[in-house]
Symmetry: C2
């Protein structure tokens, strides 16, 4: 395994489950300090919502060694893949020195890294990406230094940006988020992103949209402000939430095929095509968008785990495939839950779909039931056929996981008309008699019929 987080260690564990140590020797090299951790939990650790870093680690290197007979070596970085000789060149980052390690199967699970544009001043101290547990520890140390930082700027209002902004507010900092798009959370359409912006402002976060960062000012090598086209925003600490890019340099240097956004190309079994015994999984690979049928790049822990397990199953002599994703994601800002799946309007347009959209307001429970809260559901469906193309849900409680209904409907290429008959759970504590998803499907079916 090249990489000891979700993709790599899921592959290792599953392969081990199927083939014992006498049959298959498994070694995993991880350049960081930790194996198998929840990167998605890091913002909650930073925000003191959960303890860390230990609680975020599913299994440490010792556990892999002792209980799984997997030789997991942290602080070991694979520097080169030598396809011709079926070897990897590994650097011991603490002990020093290089070794060459032969392999029959190689799983590339190198993950992704935060995007750091080469803006002027971007190498100043105090500017952080948050992807690994080590990144999280570095940021926490920076928040605890003396004098304590009081002003934070988050660049980018995607998942990590929004979650980090809330975490930093929880830590008592003044937080400004700068986003170049017209609304935060560009993974949903702007009309839904407005609701996210309102929730962020409700937390006391300064949200500046349609504003492009141009660089950083610094003093004594330490960041002092974020510079934008319009202004200079003072900052003691800056967090980059600009998304990630796959760590695929190693694969590229070895001559392996890269696809969308530089993700490693694999087949359904997570094999790298044309290279016998080479596999890839996790945030470093491209995958398939099941709605468009096109390749896409969606780094997410849940996909990494599934892909790793598929690779491990196949390496272990079994049969498994990872067909692709529909693009489901959920998050929350304070008590506002935000969920999306499938295509946004711009994705549908880009893919060549003609579509209708509908947006409805409903509630999580029967309106007369205590705890009833507002929920907004937006659906996008193909013109004429009425095939569901995507959906977004924003609400105050029990909203986000309703997106799963849409995700399963998308997977099965249901039409919104078919969806109006779905037999979803109803009881007053859980749903109005027409579930919000059904109300939206009904309205969408009417819109399709009119076009």
């Amino acid at each position: 395994m090249v990489g000891g987080d979700a993709g790599g260690m899921s592959a290792a564990s599953e392969a081990r489950r199927r083939r014992g140590p006498e049959e298959l020797q498994i070694t995993a090299f991880e350049r960081g300090e930790h194996t198998s951790y929840s990167a998605c939990g890091i913002p909650y650790w930073i925000g003191d919502v959960v303890d860390g870093p230990e609680r975020l680690i599913a299994r440490d290197a010792r556990t892999f060694r002792d209980e799984y007979a997997i030789d997991a070596r942290v602080r070991h970085e694979v520097a080169e893949i030598d396809l011709a000789n079926r070897e990897v060149v590994v650097r011991d980052l603490d002990g020093g020195g290089e070794i060459r390690e032969p392999y029959d199967h190689l799983v590339i699970a190198t993950g992704a890294s935060p995007i750091r544009p080469d803006w002027p001043g971007a190498d100043a101290e105090g500017i952080f990406g948050v992807q690994t547990l080590d990144d999280g520890a570095t940021l926490r140390a920076a928040l605890d230094r003396d004098p304590r930082p009081t002003r934070a700027v988050v660049v980018g209002a995607g998942y990590i940006g929004v979650e980090m902004a809330e975490a930093l507010v929880n830590r008592g900092l003044d937080v400004t988020v700068v986003e170049q798009a017209e609304q935060p959370m560009a993974t949903v359409d702007p009309d839904m992103g407005i609701l996210v912006g309102e929730a962020m402002r409700g937390l006391g976060i300064a949200v500046r949209t349609s504003e492009r960062v141009t660089g950083f000012a610094s003093g004594d090598g330490r960041v002092t402000a974020v510079l934008t086209e319009r202004s200079e925003i003072p900052a003691d600490v800056v967090v980059l939430g600009l998304g990630v890019r796959p760590n695929s340099d190693l694969a590229e240097k070895a001559g392996l095929p890269l696809g969308v956004a530089g993700g490693v190309v694999t087949d359904l079994r997570m094999r790298v095509p044309g290279h016998d015994g080479i596999w890839a999984a996790g945030d470093c690979v491209q995958t398939v968008n099941l709605v468009t049928g096109q390749p896409t790049y969606v780094p997410l822990g849940t996909h990494a785990n599934k892909q790793g397990r598929v690779a491990g199953t196949n390496i272990g002599g079994g049969y498994a495939t990872f067909p692709g994703v529909v693009g489901t994601a959920v998050t929350k800002v304070c008590d506002l839950e935000v969920a999306r799946t499938g295509l946004r309007e711009r994705d549908a347009t880009a893919a060549g779909f003609g579509y209708i959209t509908v947006t409805i307001d409903s509630t999580n429970r029967s309106s007369y039931f205590p705890g009833s809260q507002a929920m907004t559901v937006k659906l996008i469906a193909e013109r004429r056929t009425g095939r569901l193309l995507g959906g977004q849900i924003v609400g105050r409680a029990e909203a986000a996981k309703r997106i799963d209904v849409l995700a399963v409907a998308l997977t099965n290429r249901m039409t919104v008309e078919e969806m109006t008959a779905l037999d979803l759970g109803y009881a007053p504590p859980f749903s109005p008699v027409w579930d919000p998803v059904l109300v939206a499907a009904r309205k969408a079916a009417q819109a399709v019929a009119r076009r």
Copy 2:
């Protein structure tokens, strides 16, 4: 419309939406006091969780008259359907007298009534079924009388029985539930029903299972005890939770076809076959179980609303169908959420399926996230094919509505293997990295592969 609750008034409203008062005259006869109310909310009204009865009424007769131009007449009972003359005979229950009302289209939406076995003593005062808003008012009055009843016995531990038991505990009564099956909540398999029984006992409810009621003792015409094969349980008030049967006598007398459990037979458009212009919807009709393809009887408000809307769409000149149900239901006992869909083991056996079952324990959120609570998921899948046949979920929070994922999967005849790749929403506040449904699907796929 014969009947002014969910089925009838959904049909009336939808027909009106499509055809104005100048085109279509709509009259609805309701023998009770109220139109369009949430019967499912009654236990929560009894338990003082929600206000009532007004809050449970979606639209009253006046609203239908004034805003929808629908002549909704409460306390009017249809006594006879005269198919030959296309008329109904209607009794004015308050004013007295009978009228004959002609129709072009007739919607039979007579609902269902609690099953009252003809046990000895069953006609004593103090024994209540809970189906209509009027039933709810009667029971509330009985609970408020002087001297106040202190001991309640609920006969039957299905949805209504369990919900009513909790409501009565909320009102401060000592509550005993008597159930002839081996576990409460026979709509789930006994291994899941055990968990419901534990939760009920945790509320202080005395749960007596595998015990058959034989009759009632009474004094001065008022119930004093419930008699079983084994004992005599003192009772000031008795609630029957033995399920309901369709109010299809009227249809039967008119010679209309009845099916499973006496439900009125309809086609996909909710027409009664062979009888032009006769429709039926709601708790009085039989429907189709989409998993077995067989007719079934599932009285539930959410189906009634959908069926009514389908009938109304068709009467209004549109096109809509109600394909059937997969059998989804959710409820809660205190903070224990219980959900089911598709076939139980006994249903699968009865239908002739060979199957495997798996049960897994997981959590609603990432285990390290605050508020993480246990959840149990059981899946039933066909042998060989691995097709999902049913599922049940019991958990403490954010558990029940996860059943919707299984409901959509059932509707689309997914296999458990296919389900392992579902792109369900993941973030630490909402799910472990492997959603409990995925963990169960994975284990089920392994079980299928082994058989």
